[in-house]
Point group: C2
Chain length 341, copies 2
DNA sequence: TTTTAGCACTGAACAATAATGAGTGCCAGT
DNA sequence: ACTGGCACTCATTATTGTTCAGTGCTAAAA
């Protein structure tokens, strides 16, 4: 045996592993020795010997003693870290993403959402964008926008760029002016307060103040309370795209498994756990991720002008890593460009 | 044979059909004659004869010659129209819904969304709320809300109560005041315009006007254009709750079927086709609905103070119709109450 | 006329068995 | 160091038999 572990694989073994991973990604069928003869100009027996070595070190697996090989999680990992080259984006893909980034007026989070939507279409995987969770959002501004017919829109926005609106029908007894005044007071006193503390301060700091100036202060308080509480409830700032894409992948051919994964997608706290603060692009294959042992999560953190969050691609372990990496790298680069502008 | 079709069924046959439908709804197992003996104080042979009659007229079906009976779509339909009594809501359910309706300040569509969310939890089916599609929404108001750092929020709201916001970073060269002025012009000229015609009128009516007053009019135009186009894109004002609930129903135990239904849920135009303008609560069982031959859609239209839309419950054909009806009727009643206030 | 007991029959569901074939490990020979 | 050959393994598929819930029908009882 000429390979021990890790980087002691010889060139041929690396080539072989690479070929097996890529073939399996394409076909989802265990890769047998015969099919590789042509490519390597070797007999199947020789290939089998090499495969046995790769299996011995944990890079390959067999479903049963006489089946072809499939990459193990360790095998995928080695492939991603050492063998894979990010695929070049083709012109069309490039163009689509560029037009989105070109629009400088958009908020970063909107730009990213649009990108991820495109990416989920291009890859057939599921993409996720996680804004900073609400506990880390601080109040930036609250506004009252009057409509006709005693209706108003209450706008709440945070320093991380999240905006929520809610429309209220206000009773005749409340003057819009009172709402506006109250919003101004809130803006003076509570800006910078973490969103999930706003409710409390609203009650103990704002309510006493307006109670002296406004007759129907309870009703006014209720409105702002509602506006904020809705915000806290929707705290999970999660954007999905192509949720069903990955379920359509042929490896998910078992009802229980599909149902399990659907369930996970509905579990917001689990989705939230995808959040990442690490630099660069990180891959979590199978058991490595908290989400589900049968999927791969590729994620990266973004941050620009105060807006920040995590973007992630969720797909089968048999993922086209080269393509996904290329796409995420592209986004990272674009964001870097903007940073240095 | 004593029953011909429709209402010529005798009492016992009606009772029998009712029992079979309700048993099947509970158990999902074909209902055999033996199990019904006790209930009806008859021998299995007699029951079998009656079942044969019901089958002959199309109310029951067999999976194969020697299986128990399951209700046909016609059988469900007859059950819903003639045999079923809406179940009384229990106190807890009542209470939950009442607290939502109690909040008079909320917009109708918000109230309804919250209700349907609760309902999907209570029934384990999927609930859908469809606002009037954007073509039927007319512009009500556009507002510019300034933030610090050269950012603004553009708010677009329609007469049917939909509000969308989008945040922009505006170049130094544009003055916020110019944006506000433009929004005022739009409000003067375009209010009442159907949303999907706004873009056009924006270009041909507004653009020429601001081009005379504003230097960077192109950029200003772009911002409003973006704000509206986003609106048109999200035109489909669809709110889902418990999307996965119904997939968890045990009858969906086939991968292909699950994938098919997931696909349908993603097809916005199909979802849109659920829209209804009919009075009262309508049931579309299996082939009767455009959505999917293996589900039932129960829907009703709501309209109050100009806001209108459709609410629907999507579940298996084997649905707890009595419960679903009770819930939707409750909502309808609450809305009626408000109408007469 | 209505109901029932009895009996032959059906077809799904399950288990056991056999045949097929892709793929393996290993060994002896080049 | 590589290859041809061979025995072996096990998923997959097809085949057969067994069981059993449930049916339709008929002749007798109510």
């Amino acid at each position: 045996m000429s390979a021990s572990g890790g980087d002691f694989m010889d060139e041929r073994q690396k080539e072989l592993l690479k070929e097996i991973v890529e073939t399996y990604i394409k076909t989802i069928k265990p890769v047998g020795s015969k099919g590789l003869c042509d490519k390597f100009k070797l007999s199947s027996a020789t290939i089998r010997n090499e495969m046995a070595i790769l299996e011995h070190y944990g890079y390959l697996e067999k479903n049963h003693v006489s089946s072809g090989r499939i990459p193990s999680e360790k095998g995928y990992k080695y492939y991603v870290e050492n063998l894979m080259k990010p695929k070049e984006l083709n012109g069309e893909e490039m163009l689509k993403l560029q037009t989105i980034f070109h629009n400088q007026e958009l908020q970063i989070s909107d730009t990213i959402q649009e990108c991820m939507q495109i990416i989920s279409e291009m890859t057939n995987y599921t993409s996720v964008v996680l804004g900073k969770s609400s506990r880390e959002n601080a109040l930036r501004q609250v506004s009252i926008v009057p409509l006709e017919n005693n209706q108003v829109i209450a706008l709440v926005c945070t320093d991380k760029g999240i905006v929520e609106n809610k429309t209220f029908k206000i009773p005749e007894t409340i003057l819009i002016d009172e709402l506006v005044k109250t919003s101004e007071i809130i803006n003076k006193m509570l800006i910078g307060t973490p969103i999930d503390e706003v409710s409390e301060r609203l009650e103990f700091e704002i309510k006493p103040i307006i109670s002296k100036r406004i007759k129907q202060y309870e009703a006014v308080y209720e409105i702002f309370y509602d506006a904020f509480s809705d915000f806290t409830k929707n705290s999970t700032n999660i954007f999905f795209s192509g949720k069903s894409n990955m379920l359509m992948q042929p490896e998910y051919d078992d009802v229980e498994e599909i149902k399990r994964i659907i369930g996970k997608f509905e579990d917001e706290s689990l989705i939230q756990s995808i959040e990442s603060n690490d630099e660069g692009i990180n891959v979590y294959i199978g058991d490595e991720n908290k989400f589900d042992p049968n999927v791969t999560v590729v994620k990266t953190h973004y941050s620009l002008n105060g807006e920040e969050g995590t973007i992630a691609i969720v797909g089968p372990k048999r993922m086209e890593y080269d393509k996904v990496f290329a796409l995420l790298e592209y986004i990272n680069n674009e964001l870097d460009k903007r940073k240095n502008e």
